[in-house]
Symmetry: C2
Subunit: 391 residues, 2 copies
């Protein structure tokens, strides 16, 4: 169920190779509240810098997004181009340009071909329709192997609102920077501050806890627009229906983040790493990310090898205080390490590791906090995809 | 030229597969000063923990080292075994066990087979000779493809001293944890505090600035023994000959660290990353390591791809303050990025990238400090080597 009042459009602007649509528009028929999170990379693409400024208003009505060019490391010209993209859309839609956001993904360091985008704007706006959100999900794909869409309903009194999220994952383009772009739309009325806070909490435990190769993009952007067209009383943190909205938004984002990992470059396995028994959540997350980003752990998983020594070493260099002799490690339900020592259950662990979905649980026995991080294995296909020369 | 007073020995103790020597002894005929640096991994192998205690005395006469088993994550038993190894050698050599150090590399988490080591100690001691330092370098190899030995002479007045270093590199065993072990011996008389300080300075700029896969071992150890048998007056930092010794030690360690990177798992390219124009050396090192550890940069180098956007992104997430619009990037002498913007010299850069030795220079234009980090490319062979099941 598509949230009320949202329209979508896609066109081919020849930014990518011919035959692939590469420009999309998400439009709300009324002004919406908006919240966002952005890459923390010091090097930010022009559209990211621009959106960070715009989002201070908390208001939005349209998002234009292109693939094929990241408009990153493009200097003053890049910023002028990003601004022009929002102005072209604003003029076409006859709305204020402050309400238009822009996102780009693709090649870094090449100027964005405005001469090919400009003449396509009227077609982009003319094509707006209710039924093409899947097309937008396809346009933003780079080396993703499938479009990523998640939808959840939210009961608010007698009404049913909708939250739809689309995203592109950690694939390379041309084969350039992995960029994560995510757009979430909802017809539910929710206070902007509440929306922003809810988004930040959800992203912290989802998108910020997935890793394919440990490389952070210059373009990562998550935007959520809520236009209130459901007609419910505006939700705040005190509202009865807040929990339902919060859960729906969290689930949409969690599902999308799982889809990104499942579609990781060259991945053959989906790996969930839970660190529990940590002194605090920050420690748990740090330890789990250290294991998830270890090339040695990821190649062992690819090779179905119950190589827990590599997990122990990655925990050891994570910077988190721990005692080796307290640590338990499980592959699935098989305890492979008991209080720092091998249990010798390698053969049982091997059975678990042959699955496509693997859960690794690490108990530090230092406290009561935990964190889950999602990752994938590291394979020859990752190398091939990323060593191929740009074409 | 082997330093005076040092003897070496190797035997096969069946810790590894049959037919490969796996136990070695380095012995000084007189007590020597010793200094060392060890892994900063929170999870440390038993021999590392033991040596850290012993080295407080600053004195040593022998080092026993085995490959095939890391004696890491082996609990109390592991520590008892490490202690027993030093005692067996001490008894055989009729020296104090406090003067005997032990290093291990190989499988993590499996008990070290003392029943196979014990009966070999007398043969190990019986075999001691002057000419077999190369054999020791071979014994400590794991997936290294060549033994690593470097020798430098040091003129001290009318005498000529010698510094010899051997090491094993970042190869996996069985295919387990990469461990870096390095043993340096010299016949030069040098004050223990001076030796220790000189070693620390050298390691900081050499071994601590190489990276193959970003994974830090539980067993990394560097030991330097100086037995004074050259008969020179003991060197301190004030001595005229201190600079010559310091330079020789630094060069031995630098050369060894280069050999480790050249022999990195699956590597086809040797990559030197220099970050200059940093506000301080710590910033320069951090930025260079961020680039050197980026899987995307390493695969691009493998693919001969002048993909500077990945370098820019890795700089951006390094945590070092920088301004994108000030950054210059060079491949060899080709400036590919000028003040944050592409120069378009991709074709010239491609020529540089086809070489086996590649220098990447990054100028942050923020200050006057610099740091050089050595790394290698990331290839399918790395994945294959590390995904292969333990045998």
């Amino acid at each position: 169920m598509i949230p009320k009042g949202f329209l979508f459009s896609t066109v081919e602007a020849a930014i990518k190779k011919p035959g692939r649509k590469d420009l999309a528009l998400i439009y709300s028929q009324v002004e919406a509240n908006i919240a966002g999170t952005f890459t923390t990379n010091n090097v930010k693409a022009a559209p990211v810098k621009l959106d960070i400024k715009k989002i201070k208003s908390g208001r939005a009505q349209a998002i234009i997004v292109n693939s094929g060019n990241a408009n990153a490391c493009t200097g003053k010209k890049g910023m002028e181009d990003a601004i022009e993209m929002t102005k072209l859309v604003a003029d076409g839609l006859k709305i204020k340009s402050s309400l238009v956001y822009v996102c780009s993904t693709g090649v870094i360091g090449a100027p964005i071909p405005m001469e090919r985008i400009r003449p396509k704007i009227s077609e982009l706006i003319g094509n707006l329709s209710m039924s093409t959100v899947e097309d937008v999900a396809s346009v933003i794909m780079t080396t993703d192997t499938f479009p990523k869409i998640v939808q959840k309903n939210v009961k608010i009194g007698s009404k049913t609102g909708s939250v739809v999220g689309i995203c592109k994952g950690a694939g390379m383009i041309c084969p350039h920077m992995a960029t994560m772009l995510c757009f979430i739309i909802s017809d539910i009325a929710i206070h902007q501050k509440t929306l922003s806070k809810t988004l930040n909490i959800a992203v912290k435990k989802t998108f910020n806890r997935i890793t394919v190769d440990g490389d952070m993009s210059t373009n990562d952007t998550v935007l959520v627009m809520a236009n209130g067209m459901l007609g419910n009383r505006q939700i705040t943190e005190e509202s009865k229906s807040y929990t339902a909205f919060k859960n729906a938004l969290y689930e949409v984002i969690l599902d999308l983040s799982r889809l990104i990992v499942k579609d990781g470059e060259g991945a053959t396995k989906f790996i969930e790493i839970e660190v529990k028994g940590a002194r605090n959540e920050a420690d748990a997350e740090k330890a789990a990310l250290s294991v998830a980003n270890s090339n040695l752990v990821k190649t062992a998983m690819y090779g179905n090898d119950a190589n827990w020594g590599r997990i122990m070493a990655a925990l050891g260099y994570s910077g988190v205080e721990m005692k080796e002799e307290k640590i338990d490690i499980y592959f699935g339900k098989v305890r492979i390490v008991n209080r720092g020592i091998s249990t010798g259950r390698d053969r049982e662990a091997d059975v678990v590791l042959k699955r496509r979905d693997i859960k690794i649980t690490i108990d530090l026995h230092r406290g009561k906090s935990s964190a889950n991080v999602l990752t994938c294995d590291l394979t020859e296909d990752y190398i091939r995809a990323n060593a191929a020369y740009r074409t």
